[in-house]
């Protein structure tokens, strides 16, 4: 009990000390702040960014921060604040702070799990604009945006299909959600187009970032006979596994994910998927700057055509130069393109997806049970892709479900 008494005394003393400290320099919140904001000429724009992970990770949050820096360099009237490693449950607290203390005009919340908090915040702060990445709920002051990579996975699949000797292609998946399932399916469709005999085997790790588990999953796929690996996980672990095997003389090809990871496996990384959020942030912020008021229908879904999704494991290198000759020595045949060497074929398809002339999810597409999901000649619409919950027929592995 004595201890408690003394703790109280100290807390009071400390409290008083800080009270005076704040009294000296503390800036009091004024109710007139909203009015102030309205009077200010709209010359500057301040944007706050919420990241789910540390910006120093090698995936999602880092890619967004690269995009933010790009926007910062392009837009002289832009000021930005970032908050990294924000747990989903804490988003609203950080948003409060960005609005009230930092007076942000625009707030970007870059994780699906922030959706409900962002919606609440948009209701609470009518004079602030919100943009939620990967969500689907919108309001007059809340827009959504997303950069989608499935076309790149399809192109990676084409290469995986011609490179595999064992006809077993591996995939290390983060979480069995539609986004990842869509990527696995796109990858499998590419594999199938290049090599109808090959199967895609999936291992789930149930984490967005877990280098140890990703490594383990990759090793187990290699042990099971897979010789090409793609993945969704925010570290280059899978690539390191490929590189180790290559060094030992066993051919294990890999595809880089999200960030340029080729440097972690020069001898293993054939290509990959790269995201570029920069132009998208420039577009959104410019729209805001130019005075757009209503964002109820503002939903950016950017793909290869907008250069939000790029092919490669290194910026400016759609295919690792080390593997160009190997790919040129292989052939892929299809009805619409005829027979071509694999390198030209992939580049041709890349041109096509960029020009919106080719959709990987074109029927007939059957799921693992043989049920036809997309009829012959039909293209999947965005809603179908957004909520996809089945594996196409050349995928081995299960989607955990009820």
């Amino acid at each position: 009990m004595k201890k408690i008494g003394s703790v109280l005394i100290v807390l009071i003393i400390v409290g008083l000390l800080f009270g005076t400290l704040m009294g000296c320099g503390g800036k009091k919140e004024t109710p007139a702040k909203e009015a102030q904001k309205a009077e200010q000429p709209a010359k500057k724009l301040k944007a706050g960014f919420l990241y789910i992970g540390p910006v120093g990770d090698y995936g999602w949050s880092n890619a967004h921060d690269v995009g933010r820096k790009y926007a910062q360099s392009k837009l002289p009237w832009l000021e930005t604040v970032i908050v990294e490693s924000v747990p989903e449950g804490d988003a609203i607290r950080i948003i409060d702070r960005l609005v009230n203390e930092e007076k942000c005009d625009v707030i970007f919340t870059t994780s699906f799990g922030y959706m409900d908090d962002t919606v609440k915040a948009a209701e609470k702060y009518k004079n602030t604009l919100f943009f939620h990445c990967s969500g689907f709920k919108r309001a007059p002051n809340l827009g959504t945006y997303f950069a989608e990579l499935y076309q790149m996975y399809y192109l990676n699949g084409l290469m995986a299909g011609v490179l595999t000797q064992s006809n077993k292609v591996g995939y290390v998946g983060a979480f069995p959600i539609s986004e990842v399932i869509r990527h696995i399916d796109a990858y499998a469709l590419g594999v199938k187009e290049a090599n109808p005999k090959a199967k895609v085997e999936v291992r789930w790790i149930f984490s967005w970032y877990d280098p140890a588990k990703a490594k383990e999953a990759a090793q187990s796929l290699v042990a099971a006979g897979a010789d090409v690996l793609a993945f969704t996980e925010d570290s280059p672990s899978v690539i390191e596994v490929g590189q180790e095997h290559m060094k030992k003389g066993k051919k294990v090809y890999t595809f880089s994910h999200y960030s340029p990871m080729q440097k972690f496996g020069e001898d293993s990384v054939v290509s990959g998927q790269l995201v570029d959020w920069g132009p998208m942030y420039v577009k959104i912020l410019t729209d805001v700057y130019n005075g757009q008021k209503d964002f109820t229908n503002y939903d950016l879904w950017w793909l290869a055509a907008e250069n939000a999704a790029l092919l490669g494991g290194e910026i400016g290198q759609p295919i690792n130069p080390k593997f160009v000759d190997l790919l040129k020595s292989k052939k892929i045949k299809s009805k619409d393109l005829g027979e071509m060497n694999a390198y030209d074929y992939v580049m041709k398809r890349y041109e096509q997806v960029k020009a919106n002339q080719f959709e990987p999810f074109t029927g007939p597409i059957k799921d693992q049970k043989g049920v036809e999901r997309i009829p012959a000649g039909k293209k999947a619409d965005p809603a179908h892709l957004l909520s996809i919950e089945y594996f196409v027929d050349n995928v081995v592995g299960e989607i955990p479900r009820k």
């Binding site: 201890k3 003394s6 100290v10 409290g15 540390p54 908050v83 989903e88 930092e102 957004l386 909520s387």
Partner: protein
Amino acid sequence: MQLGSYQISVGWEVRKKQTPLLSALTLLGALGIGLIWVGLVFVFLGVDPLFALQKILIGSFGSLYGWKESLTKGIPLFLISSGLCVAYQAKFWNIGAESQLLMGAVWSTWFGLHIGASLSPTLGIPLMFFMGFLGGAFWGVIPAILKVKFGISEVISTLMLNYVAAEFVSYLIVGPWKGTTKYGYPYTDDLPKHLLLGTIPGTRIHYVTLALGIVISLLLFILLYRTKFGYEVRVVGESPEAAKYAGIDFFRTSLWIMIISGGVAGMAGVGEVAGIHHHLSYPGNISAGYGFTAIITAWLGNLNPLGSFLSGLFFAGILVGGDAIQISLRLPAATVHIFNGILLFVLLAGNFFLNHRLVVQLRRK
């Protein structure tokens, strides 16, 4: 050590009595040293330390906004740490509060989604907390049985059960419990609206859990210091041998300790699910490491449930105030950990110096 004809011996001596004045001075001294140290880190990072501290304090206890958030974050902390006090006083090293919280969240989510949906809030909410208590207690009793019956160290078993519980939650949300309204994302459906905990208007403080936390801290204080059971707990902690001779049933006491400690953590899990998230999601979301932070706050509160209430609140303030480090000072998130680590280090060191005295003896040979 030899020094000429003198023999110097240096050693630690346990300080038997701590006066309130000494305790207060130690705490103040520790905080003072900590703040200077933190200030140096800020100077090194090129930030005015006074400005930095001021921002952190406005963000934690120096503004209405700060208080709201510190209280919200403090609820799970002081709930769990008051339960941990009971376990640690018996020297039962429960490192598994994190998983007990998760199991409380799991049991109450199941109850809320299935049975609670058809109950009135006045019946449903208390039962939900009861289910959370049972969930945490169940998960806490396992290591107690393993320890007493099979001699398995509870440090290992409680620690390892954290991983089991986390994987279990992950399994539930991507598998059998995956919500139908969440667009394929790994969350359960939201709890029925009438079972969500009310918040104090304009805040995120779920007042039911806050009130529970205060009442439980008081009750556990009374239990520890004013009842026979509390006495037994402390005897078991001081000397298991003496407890045996005094006829204290070690098994029964251990079970109760873990029922209380695990159960209270489970209730914190109910608060997080029904008060903050409204559904079960990734384990790392449901608890931002509260079960581990509460270990620290229990010790900072000198293993007294009332003390841990204060230290839990204090620590929540530090965590919330830490936001300012990122947002206002533009420093990386890792700086928050440095800040917290330094404060912790000096406070614990202060505790050590309060309980021990450095003895230097000089003796002529």
